[in-house]
Amino acid sequence: MTAVPTSARPAPPSAARIGLSRVGLELRLFFRERQQVVFSFAYPPVMLVIFASVLGADERPGGIPFAQYFLAGIAATGIMLTSFQAVGTAIAGERESGQLERLQLLGTPPVAYFAGKAGQVLVTAAAQLALLLPVARYGYDVPLPADLAHWATFLWVAALGALAGTVLGIAASALPGSATATTTAISALAIVLQFFSGVFFGFLELPGWMQQAAALFPLKWLTQGMRSAFLPEEAGAFEVAGGWEHGRTALVLAAWVIIGVMVCMRTFRWRRGEG
């Protein structure tokens, strides 16, 4: 067997290189899907307009105008939809149409495929937020993050939240059943998570068991982190823990990303059925 003179074939390209080229591919595919683009970019501002119009006169604990409180929630929700929901749905569809089978046959490292999704999500989430913030600022007088430190918080929370959502989406795409069934399950989960995580209502108003369930998922931490970037410092006193819990937020989101990727690399299925 050692005598086989296998032609000196170089090693296949690294996972990093394939991952990078997949980011470009995923972005191109994303922007060619017109409905998806419109939904992703229009949903957060539209929701802001609707809720601010109906509940604009309300105030949240600490005398914070509703729109200001809600901006944090809707920014977090937008990130969750472009990461968790869009990724989970897309993967289920790609698996059903046999695109993942092609990738498997090419020996694509799963982590390179995940990286392509994550890169696409980071770019689209950034574009989505860049559209939402001006609407809030100029339409509803919501102050943007107060200083550089708050902007930094906003950025790391958004990035980590988008990555955690992507991982959650990859995990959810492994749910058994057809792509249609998976899409339905993911949409339902996204809606439930939004309510549990205090996107629409003040998190404190939720029953304790709901708060605890939400704390297991990234959206609650993403929303809380967003509040810490958009709300004044004193508002932290109205959080469950009596503060912004930046350390714990970073820890939970990072754990979701790291442990999630490791789990997904093992459970990821390229095909329907066994594998």
Partner: protein, 302 residues
């Protein structure tokens, strides 16, 4: 004549000349056995066609060889490695034309080829691939707007893109028009003459006869026979069918010695109306090997 093909060789012997060695491969789906101790050898540089009816396990077999489907038992060596545990370097030496779809539907043909070029250690150029499969004029067309046959051609281009040592094709020409099919055959012959080992499954006997150095017929979870296309079913081929009309009814006799039958006939009758002597073609042999036609030689259908 040469039935040595069927005699199992021990795994690992003569691996320099074997691209694929399979011994005692078993696979069951929910208790139903699909492969029941399959033995298969594909030599380096040959074109091997796997024939068999739907559900015979052709796709299962090649998916196990590709390392994308686990097996229940048996030994499998492909290009010197066990597909169940082989890594990316191994995978890059194998090209696959699967039944499934390619990249994203919203990509053009050229974009698809350009993108996947980056997955291989060494790639054929997009221009070369486009001309090889005859998709030059559709290069800018999105995959979602291609016809079924054009998609198959794109799948073929993707399969050979990484200059594989072993090319595996699962029913490659299904949905292709006759012109595309001929062009595809030409491509396969070129690849073969360049030294690529080719393993294909097909429903089309003419395709197997046209391309394959050897044909394996899969039936009952094993290979019923392995031989060059014109020697397949040697025992069956020796049997001719003598047919004639007697008292308005057609009579048939299957025999290995048609001359003797004819002598007997002519000894009794001065003239024998409707007399034919037929030897089984590839299709007859195939149908009998897979058990679709138990014994009758259907001279009338020919």
């Amino acid at each position: 004549m040469t039935t040595t093909e069927l005699a199992p060789l021990p795994v690992g012997s003569g691996t320099t000349s074997a691209a694929v060695t399979v011994r005692g491969l078993t696979k069951r789906y929910g208790g139903r056995p699909v492969l029941a101790g399959l033995d298969l050898d594909v030599r380096r540089g040959e074109c091997f066609a796997l024939l068999g009816p739907n559900g015979a396990g052709k796709t299962t077999t090649i998916e196990i060889l590709e390392g994308v489907r686990p097996r229940d038992g048996g030994d499998v060596v492909v290009l010197g490695e066990d597909p169940a545990v082989a890594g990316r370097g191994w995978r890059d030496r194998i090209g696959v034309v699967a039944q499934g779809e390619g990249g994203g539907a919203a990509l053009s043909v050229r974009e698809t080829l350009d993108h996947f070029a980056g997955y291989h250690a060494t790639s054929r150029s997009t221009a070369e691939l486009l001309s090889a499969v005859g998709l030059e004029e559709s290069a800018g067309v999105r995959v979602e707007r291609l016809s079924g046959g054009q998609r198959r051609r794109l799948a073929v281009a993707l399969g050979v893109q990484g200059r594989p040592e072993l090319l595996v094709l699962d029913e490659p020409t299904t949905g292709m028009d006759p012109v595309a099919r001929r062009r595809f055959w030409e491509l396969i012959r070129e690849l073969r003459s360049d030294g690529t080992t080719i393993l294909l499954t097909t429903h089309y006997l003419d395709e197997a006869a046209e391309l394959a150095d050897r044909v394996g017929v899969l039936a009952g979870g094993r290979l019923a026979d392995v031989a060059p296309p014109d020697e397949l079913g040697a025992a069956l081929r020796r049997q001719s069918t003598v047919s004639w009309l007697e008292d308005g009814a057609r009579r048939r006799v299957r025999t290995e010695e048609p001359g003797a039958v004819l002598r007997d006939l002519l000894a009794v009758h001065a003239e024998v109306p409707g007399l034919t002597v037929t030897r089984p073609g590839l299709e007859d042999v195939y149908l009998r090997l897979v058990g679709a036609v138990p014994t009758a030689a259907d001279g009338d259908l020919r």
